[in-house]
Amino acid sequence: MEASDLNEHISRRFNKDIEDLRNNVLVMGGLVESQLSQAIAAIVSGDSELGLQVARDDYKVNDLEVTIDEECSRILATRAPTAGDLRLIVAIIKTITDLERIGDEAEKIGFLASKLAAMDRPADSYRELKTLGSHVAHMLRDAMNAFARLDVEEALETVREDERVDDEYEAIARQCITFMMEDPRSIKRVMNVTWVARSLERIGDHAKNICEYVIYMVHGRDVRHTLYSDDTGQDSG
């Protein structure tokens, strides 16, 4: 009788631990999302102060990563989770790495924004970066939503979205090369634009990774480096 009470108690505490962990990952996701959207806003509005602010705030993301990482190790060591719980922990450990990288890229974009703000601004005020940025921000948001809802459909859709982001990046890169050939004086500025686009494209890749971890978490199936056909969403058992 007493033993079963104790068991119940332990598993309830365990549930709470896991739930807290998941919430923390989503808090970190929210922070990273807001960092990204502010970095993009800094580029578009030419606000160097905002850009530097983003760069300064990256430490918050890093701190969260360390906290969550420690918590994961603690749960692994003390609870020895199995099956779904284990997959969740493994997925979380990978997810926070990707989130932290996204934070780094956002920091980079913020820093570049402050540099770009000091240079001449093109007439379209970086519309192509704004488009790519909002595309990537949507991807990241959908990835975190898929993580929160354990929604494989949404995750798969987001994974497919990455191809379009890659295409957009290609287009921007080509455009940048044209600019540089036309006017060598603009090379310094356009190089920075290329770096921003590159960072955004990387963020898209990280978001895609997070979606793959979601699929792994739900189905226990590793879909990395495979071609995505429509039957991927079905559980193979």
Binding site: V27, S34, R141
Partner: protein
Amino acid sequence: MSESARKFVVGMILFLSAGAVVGWLYDEVVMGLLVAALIALAWQASRLLSFERALRTGNFEQFRVGEGIWEQIFSRFRFERERAVRRKKNYRMLLREIRKSTNAMPDGAVILDANNEIIACNRAAKELAGLKRKKDRGQRVDNILRDPELIRLLQSGDHKSTIEMMSPVRDGEWLDCRVVPYGGDQKLLLLRDVTERIRLSKMRRDFVANASHELRSPLTVINGYLDSLIDDESIPATWQKPVAQMRRQAARMRQILSEMLELSRLESAGAVKSDEPVDVPELLESCRQAFEGHSKVANVTIDAQSTAELRANKAEIETVIVNLLSNAIRYTPEDGEITMTWRSDGEGADLIVADTGEGIDPEYIPRLTERFFRVDKSRGRDDGGIGLGLAIVKHVLARHDAELVVTSESGHGSEFRCRFPAERVVVEPPVPLAGGA
């Protein structure tokens, strides 16, 4: 006891008595009673069984008419059931109406339990914030709406303030969020689309900033020529006075523009970055000296009750003091008193500018910090005020996490108190070692 129940009891007694009488005829009273009781029991049992069957099959044909106890039970049963059905239908209709009206609401509403888990949400919440009605039930709302500001609002338990966050669904749209407690420990998260308001206020800010900026260059030219005209001996005497007046007014315009630019700069900048410890009493003294020597100035005294320093942007705090002091001087007669106080306690520090001037009507106090607001439209134009001073004060204080408290009594003077939070106050400034230079 109802009619049918009485009939039932009487019938039962009569039947049993008849059994007893028949038994008595045969000299077996007990046997007769027993047989009658058994017959009655068998008959009632068969009715009971057929009632149960009727309940099961829904065929109440044999109970529909008649006066017996079973028919009465049936009619009572049918009555209650129909009433329940009717009531249920009413509730369902009411519920549907409520559902319809909450769905028609333009503002999003999400019902949360004590752990911020979603219980229900309306259609607007779905559209504004991308919540999914079925899938997100039981999910914590801050797992879906992950804006750091919103998370802070939910955790703070603050039911008064609102925050603005970007719509997670539609780009460039803004939502105003607010948490309202209701029921036991449930909460209502209200979301409102404020894109238009934000766009308008941004437009206004941009307009003010651009207009002031654009007006400044022509004004500089005018000012320059007027400055040289005033020194020109050759202009006719009749023009000397108009030129002097033009110069005064042009200078005033320049001042208005620079204050408007200052205000828009304060508005667009975030929180103060450069924090230096500011010696407030010293700043008060230097501001007082700046006004010394002006004619018709009331007596200004400084009451430094604290040596605490303020972590702030010195230039901005100076602007605050100058604005408050010049206001006080403007509205205080020559024989009045102006006191500037600096004091601190455990929870923060106060910078107070009090005067014995004409005071402010209480109904105007909430509007004092509006731009270009004037208590008395007829005055103030000629004495140099333009109505931006307190707006600037308010913005500077907001940037320093401080607030402005105005108390005033008409005819007896006013008090402007700037309340700084404890985080901004350095209680013990580093004291030089005794014996040091």
